[in-house]
């Protein structure tokens, strides 16, 4: 906790009175290098860093409160919460966002001289506005902002692309119209300012590079935040608080007209149903349809997520009922006509189930767009010249899985930029590679999974350094020469990767153990391929949907349990000779020459019975470790729809959820990673875990 030991808790002026100016100055200095600090800390998670950051933001929050600067105080508290709840790696984006906001706010205060004065923060009472128009605005704002951002980033790559410029201009223009129509004056002003900024670029008054491009992107970010704030305010107290920094940003984008009316954020509703003509009339001709209605021409229809879930649930019920009917009717006793109808019903319900799953599929494009921005920011911060090439943005996956992609992707991309790519372009040129580094990000389907690849053309993994480290840590015997893939796998070992020596030399594998474990919990996995000097490729795999799995049905006493097929390596019927019980330990199963721990489901779940003679053992794998699960019988294999338990607080360890069997009863789905961890904990209490295969 040594961010700045000399820092006093409250900024004071010459007479010990809280001084807003000193506060701003000092905290700007304090926070300016924070981006780098956060990124480094996120890449090398050490408890100290987290504490330092917590301390820093806590102090900032306290001081801001003392000075009455609610905006900064709230943001600082938000960062504290993110740090505590999600940790540094998961929350890094939100932390950076908040830090950006605070810096903008402080900087704007420096210019306007009143940032710390809450009187300058404007507010809009949303309850007085039309809820339907607001909802329309929220529904569409994100899309336009994403479009704007994507186009701006494209412009960065190709500054002469007028089509990109026009498209970004149109996006802001549409947003301005929608905001005006909804009565969101501050949003309208900022969108207008951004539009004006782009218009100047279109007229050639400014070039959208460097700071001017950053300014446009800052407007996109601020608008995103405003739209998120609108959504939050609608759920909360209905008051949209607009920080003074927003008007300051608008002022930087578009110098205010003499009256100042544009940037003054009025509380009232500014009627702007018809978008104000952009400053240059000629610009309109260049933009084919700068009209809010343009977005209505899409072929897609917007459906609320709730309604969609209800539809999919109902389809699920129908499929189950259909299965139950077929199970209880004997077709031989039925009139032919009825038999035929039943067949048709079965076919239709299968079709419906397929559609039901289809409906939930969305493309990965938005995630990739976010990554484009991330890589750009990371590259700028680390001073590397990096181009991100994306492919397969159209690849679709279940809505519930999309959010789960973000974390591993951020992790791998940050790794690639910070450690994979050579810091010195000369090194690259010397190695015969272009000075500008390329990171590839691709998505595609393979089997029932979506595969994502992050590939860089950096220096690759240093095989010798890893091997050396592993031997010195006693993970491998001296002189061992394992195959490449086994060496690469070593960087997934907990603790191994964070060792500074390897990080410095090979520069890879930071915190990857955590990423891989999270992926396995989602029934996915990660692998790695590397070529020294040419680069490194990480591939990770997630199921297309979390709603349906292939499962093996197990009988345990009178009870039925499901094991996700993906976790199962082999199914064996062990003979007594296959099971070993050391005199002081738990039972072990011979598995391909190794001994693995056994978990008898009868014992674990308190089911009576369990004759060893006719039992079946499933060798399951997770977290780099194998365990044999013993049950009475293997009843079959089927696709099952995973249902969360309703009305439970917390859930039960070892049980991932339930599914409905064709006879209408509920069967429980085993949570393999949790079971494996519990076995491992048991073994570690006893003695060392026997080495896996």
């Amino acid at each position: 906790m040594n961010v700045s030991p000399d820092k006093c808790p409250v900024a004071t002026g010459p007479h010990g009175v809280p001084d807003a100016g000193a506060f701003r100055e000092r905290w700007r200095r304090e926070l300016e290098p924070l981006d780098g600090m956060v990124l480094t800390a996120a890449a090398n998670p050490a408890a100290d860093d987290l504490d330092d950051l917590l301390c820093l933001f806590h102090d900032l929050g306290c001081e801001a409160v003392t000075l009455g600067d609610r905006g900064v105080a709230e943001r600082a508290r938000e960062v504290e919460n993110v740090l505590l709840d999600e940790g540094l790696s998961a929350g890094v984006d939100r932390i950076l966002d908040a830090t950006d906001w605070i810096l903008h706010h402080l900087a704007a205060g420096g210019e306007a001289g009143a940032a710390a004065d809450p009187g300058r923060d404007a507010a809009v009472e949303l309850r007085s506005l039309d809820p339907d128009t607001l909802r329309d605005f929220l529904d569409e704002a994100d899309e336009h902002l994403q479009e704007a951002e994507a186009r701006l980033l494209a412009l960065e790559q190709a500054p002469d692309a007028t089509e990109s410029l026009n498209a970004a201009f149109r996006a802001f223009h549409t947003l301005k119209g929608m905001a005006g129509f909804a009565g969101l004056a501050p949003v309208q002003s900022l969108a207008h300012a951004a539009e004006h900024h782009l218009d100047r670029a279109r007229r050639g008054e400014i070039a959208l590079v460097g700071d001017d491009l950053d300014l446009a992107l800052a407007a996109t970010d601020a608008l995103k935040r405003l739209s998120a704030d609108v959504a939050a305010a609608l759920r909360g107290d209905g008051l949209l608080r607009v920080p003074a920094a927003v008007s300051a940003l608008a002022a930087r984008l578009a110098p205010p007209p003499p009256s100042g009316g544009l940037v003054m954020l009025s509380r009232g509703r500014e009627r702007a149903g018809e978008p104000a003509p952009p400053p240059a009339a000629a610009a309109v001709a260049a933009a084919p349809s700068p009209h809010p209605a343009a977005s209505a021409q899409r072929e897609a229809v917007r459906v609320s997520a709730d309604r969609l879930d209800r539809l999919v649930d109902t389809i699920g019920e129908l499929v189950i009922i259909e299965a139950m009917i077929r199970r209880t009717c004997d077709p031989r006793l039925m009139p032919v006509e009825q038999q035929r109808n039943l067949e048709r019903l079965a076919k239709l319900s299968r079709e419906l189930q397929r559609i039901g799953l289809d409906v939930r599929m969305v493309p990965v494009r938005p995630v990739f767009q976010k990554m484009t921005r991330l890589v750009r920011d990371l590259a700028r911060k680390s001073g590397r010249d990096v181009e991100l090439r994306t492919g397969g943005e159209e690849t679709e996956l279940d809505r519930s899985v999309v959010d789960l992609l973000t974390d591993p992707l951020i992790h791998l991309l940050r790794n690639a930029v910070d450690h994979g790519i050579e810091a010195d372009p000369a090194q690259r040129v010397a190695a015969g590679k272009p000075a500008r580094a390329t990171i590839g990000l691709r998505a595609y389907h393979e089997g029932g999974s979506i595969v994502l690849e992050v590939e860089d053309d950096g220096r690759g993994l240093d095989r010798d350094a890893i091997l050396d480290k592993a031997i010195r840590r006693g993970l491998l015997p001296p002189g061992a020469q394992p195959p490449d893939h086994a060496i690469h796998d070593l960087i997934f070992l907990p603790g191994f990767s964070t060792a500074t020596q390897v990080t410095e030399v090979s520069g890879r594998g930071v915190g990857l153990d955590v990423v891989r474990r999270n992926l396995e919990e989602l029934r996915g996995g990660m692998e790695i391929a590397s070529e020294p000097g040419r680069g490194c490729r990480f591939r990770f795999r997630l199921p297309l949907t979390l709603a349906v799995i292939d499962g093996l049905t197990l009988g345990v006493g009178d009870e039925t349990y499901i094991v996700p097929t993906l976790a199962v390596r082999r199914v064996v019927r062990p003979t007594p000779a296959d099971i070993v019980r050391p005199f002081d330990g738990d039972e072990l199963l011979r598995d391909e020459g190794a001994l693995i721990p056994l978990l008898r489901l009868h014992e674990r779940f308190g089911v009576p019975g369990g004759e060893p003679e006719r039992s079946v053992a499933l060798v399951v794998e997770g977290d780099g470790c194998r365990v044999g699960l013993v049950a009475d019988d293997l009843l079959g294999q089927q696709q099952v729809v995973i249902k969360a338990f309703e009305g439970t607080d917390g859930g039960v360890p070892g049980i991932a959820g339930g599914t409905i069997l064709p006879d209408g009863r509920v069967a429980l789905i085993l949570d393999i990673p949790v079971l494996i961890r519990s076995v491992r904990a048991r073994c570690e209490r006893g003695r060392a875990m026997p080495a896996g295969a």
Binding site: D313, T314, G316, E317, I320, E559, R604, F605, G606, V607, K643, A644, F645, E646, G647, T648, D649, V652, P653, G654, I655, G657, G658, T659, I660, G664, R665, V666, A667, L668
Partner: protein, 158 residues
């Protein structure tokens, strides 16, 4: 009124769904009752609290079932045709949860006015009791649904 400090949930007057467990009549606020269903096959959930009998398939949803007899320390009853599930929908902050309780028999909807409600000195499993009501000479035990299903003080409030 020192009882209110020990058991801050106090039954409000209004309509209650009456049901029986053994000889006693109980009431649950009709506002949280979503439906009443016949008994369904229950799947035991290993590791769940003792008063949770398991989960059932309620038209495609997997819903937790609380055994009120176990919750109140009564002995188990044999299932009859009248054994029912009272399915409740509970708003808990932003979330709504659906859960069911096994009861011996559902009787009728009871209208209980404020004067009939006596405070209850809750403790133990009684924490789920929100009050007692006098109705035509009988005593109705009024339950707090949120505490029955998500008992913040399982096994004892003290």
């Amino acid at each position: 009124m020192e009882t209110t400090t020990r058991n801050p949930v106090t039954a409000a007057p209004g309509s209650y769904l009456g049901f029986r467990l053994g000889a006693e009549t109980y009431g649950l606020d009709i506002g949280v009752v979503q439906e009443i269903s016949g008994m369904l096959p229950v799947t035991r959930v290993p590791g769940a609290p003792d008063h949770v009998r398991g989960v059932v398939n309620l038209r495609g949803r997997v819903v937790q079932v609380v055994d009120l007899r176990r919750l109140f320390g009564m002995e188990a009853a044999t299932e009859t045709r009248r054994t029912s599930l009272v399915v409740c929908r509970i708003e808990d902050g932003e979330q709504t949860a659906v859960a069911a309780a096994v009861v011996d028999d559902v009787t009728e909807v009871l209208n209980i006015d404020a004067a009939a409600i006596a405070p209850h000195s809750g403790g133990g499993a009684g924490a789920a009791v929100a009050g007692l009501a006098q109705l035509g000479g009988a005593v109705i035990i009024l339950l707090d649904a949120a505490r029955v299903f998500f008992g913040d003080e399982p096994g004892g409030a003290a």
